[in-house]
């Protein structure tokens, strides 16, 4: 069954346009509608896994109109967005009761989802910029949703850096247009192969790297993330760390580098450098944190480093014309870690939200002994921690293992060692979380703490089961062939990827 691609964008958009009209009395209905929409998007995304097609909006053929591209990579990202947004929306049902203006929250949430889906599906650089802005602007507002001191400050910082990044991206788009006369990704890459990279295109590429690097919070550009992600309400933190930085940052960067500009050795090294820096610096900054959500945010930087490292390694091997098998293995590791991180990091943020709602604090030192009071939250948190630290048999283990194997095979022994080392430090850091939050003595003040019930638990349980089940994505060949392999192929084939050919 093939879903018309614009529905991925139109469905959440229409729902978002309708939701603010719902008054106070209809709030349960609004929540139900929003949940249905995210669920529907998840089902649609899962159905489109392994498919590949082009949709010409308005019926205009390629150079005239905008086209939407569904290929392995977009389908993978769509599914990740679907999973995380369905879980976060379910979690919000109860969690967001502590805030006012819930209908607007739901609307902004769906707008953010629509923006991300639009970015992932777009086959046109300017259209990508427009949807990037939708998702970003919705996320600026959502970060500041609580309207307290910290939230506003974080939101402003995030908004300034995000707007600068958007301006970079727009300037890059303008330069690409100036040099190739086209906005369609397929046409641009064809023109670039014809005229070669000139100074203008190289500058545009560096603007894209800076702009999307800012959106992905890779290390020299990471300043906003540790403020913005913890300040948002927990389900939004889960969305931001879980999928937003990936769809807006890493996905867009990978798409442009691999499928539009084509890989080259300098770009490969830049990506590897960004990845390693993020990995190492992120994890060492995380170790010293005592704020639960802030610690998780620093780990997001570090884990995004893994993803970018895998992709960069693949780009470098491809550009050096090394063995494509190892290149695809590295990219497989990167992309698999991307989806894994989406699941376990959003789960971690949801558990932190659950703990925060129950105890009223985020400081690790003020908690303790919650294992008796919140056994379910504790279990899900333990699963996610094991996952992020790479403990077998959880999903994080497999993706890190693949990355290490790829690095060793490509003779980057130091990179492999760093990867393992960072993983160990991550493990230590999460042992600390377990020790301070759930073990130890229960402080007097938290005596009345109770488990949060209903939808919040359901959302966490869903993600926790996925943490374990996603190992099957790599272990079962049939699943691997339909889910991960098409995405890897899109990147490995680069500017000659099948969708690029189909589009002609």
């Amino acid at each position: 069954m093939s879903v018309p691609l614009p529905l991925f964008v139109a469905l959440p958009l229409v729902a978002a346009f309708v939701l603010p009209v719902f008054g106070k009395g209809l709030k349960p209905l609004a929540t139900l509608l929003a949940n249905l929409v995210t669920l529907c998007l998840l089902v649609m995304a899962v159905l489109s896994l392994g498919q590949s097609r082009i949709y010409e909006v308005g019926g205009w053929s390629i150079p005239l109109g905008i086209n939407l591209v569904l290929d392995g990579l977009s389908a993978l990202l769509l599914t990740a967005i679907g999973v995380v947004s369905a879980a976060a929306m379910l979690f919000s049902t109860r969690y967001m009761e502590q805030y006012t203006a819930k209908a607007k929250y739901l609307s902004l949430f769906l707008l953010m989802v629509a923006g991300m889906n639009g970015v992932v599906l777009s086959g046109d650089v300017f259209n990508l910029y427009v949807f990037l802005e939708i998702a970003s602007i919705a996320s600026y507002a959502l970060v500041g949703f609580g309207c307290e001191h910290e939230e506003l400050e974080a939101s402003f910082k995030y908004m300034v850096l995000g707007s600068v990044a958007s301006a970079f991206v727009l300037f890059g788009v303008a330069l690409v247009y100036a040099n190739t006369g086209s906005l369609n990704m397929t046409q641009i890459s064809a023109t670039i192969r014809q005229i070669g990279m000139n100074a203008g295109l190289a500058f545009a590429l560096s603007l894209f790297v800076a702009g999307f690097g800012l959106k992905a919070a890779l290390v020299p550009f990471h300043a906003w993330l540790p403020d913005a992600h913890p300040s948002a309400p927990a389900p939004i933190s889960a969305m931001l760390s879980g999928v937003l930085i990936k769809a807006l940052g890493v996905y867009a960067l990978a798409r442009l580098v691999f499928n539009v500009f084509g890989v080259s050795i300098p770009v490969g090294w830049v990506l590897i450098a960004l990845g390693v820096l993020s990995m190492v610096i992120g994890v060492f900054l995380a170790v010293g944190q005592w704020d639960f959500k802030r610690l998780l945010a620093y780990h997001s930087i570090s884990q995004m480093g893994y993803v970018v490292l895998g992709i960069g390694l693949g780009a470098l091997i491809l550009a050096q014309e090394g063995d494509p098998l190892w290149a695809s293995l590295a990219i497989l590791g990167g992309l698999f870690h991307l989806v894994n991180h989406a699941v376990f990091k959003s789960l971690l943020f949801l558990t932190s939200g659950s703990v925060e709602m129950a105890t009223g604090t985020r400081q690790l030192k003020q908690m303790g002994g919650l294992v008796e009071r919140m056994p379910y939250t504790r279990t899900t948190c333990a699963v996610a921690s094991a996952s992020i630290a790479g403990v077998p048999p959880f999903n994080g283990f497999w993706s890190k293992l693949i990355l290490v194997i790829a690095a060793v095979q490509a003779r980057f022994y130091i990179l492999a060692a760093v990867t393992v080392l960072v993983s160990l430090v991550t493990l230590l850091s999460f042992l600390k979380v377990q020790r301070y939050v759930f073990l130890g003595e229960l402080p007097e003040s938290l005596d009345r703490t109770r488990e949060n019930g209903g939808s919040m638990l359901a959302a966490m349980a869903f993600l926790a089961v996925l943490c374990l089940a996603m190992s099957l994505l790599i272990l079962l060949p049939s699943l691997r062939e339909t889910v991960l392999q098409p995405a890897v192929d899109v990147l490995v084939k680069g500017v000659t990827s099948p969708t690029a050919v189909v589009a002609r």
């Binding site: 427009v130 506003l152 707007s163 247009y177």
Partner: protein
């Protein structure tokens, strides 16, 4: 040279956004960057001695539905104009949101100075 001045405008905006410590100044810097990019896009499409991409009755033959070749030759590039129309709206939207955040922050902290708005650290 004209493009270079446009790029200079972009860099002035970037400088303002990066270096200044007044929140409103930072917003102004971002606005200047966006003006510069919009201007750059429109300048890309300019044709020396061109006409606006709007067909008037003189340039259109009602019987044959043909457009005068003169118009085809001298019309400026319409695509960047459509793009800039979109990007102007986007910058207006983000300006409105940014100013809202600024005003609300001012009400909380009583200052626009971002070196004093520092509760988040570490």
């Amino acid at each position: 040279m004209a493009y270079a001045l446009c790029f200079l405008l972009f860099m002035i905006g970037l400088y303002c956004a990066v270096v200044k410590k007044n929140m409103v100044k930072i917003v102004l810097g971002i606005m200047i960057m966006e003006y510069a990019v919009n201007l750059f896009l429109i300048m890309l499409g300019y044709v020396n001695g061109g006409v606006a991409p709007i067909i008037d009755r003189a340039a259109y033959d009602v019987q044959t539905h043909a457009i005068a070749p003169q118009f085809l030759k001298t019309s400026v590039d319409p695509l960047p104009q459509a793009l800039v129309l979109t990007s102007i709206v986007i910058s207006l939207g983000s300006l409105a949101l940014m100013i809202s955040i600024c005003i609300r922050t001012y009400a909380k902290y009583g200052t626009f100075d971002i070196t004093e708005i520092r509760r988040l650290r570490g």
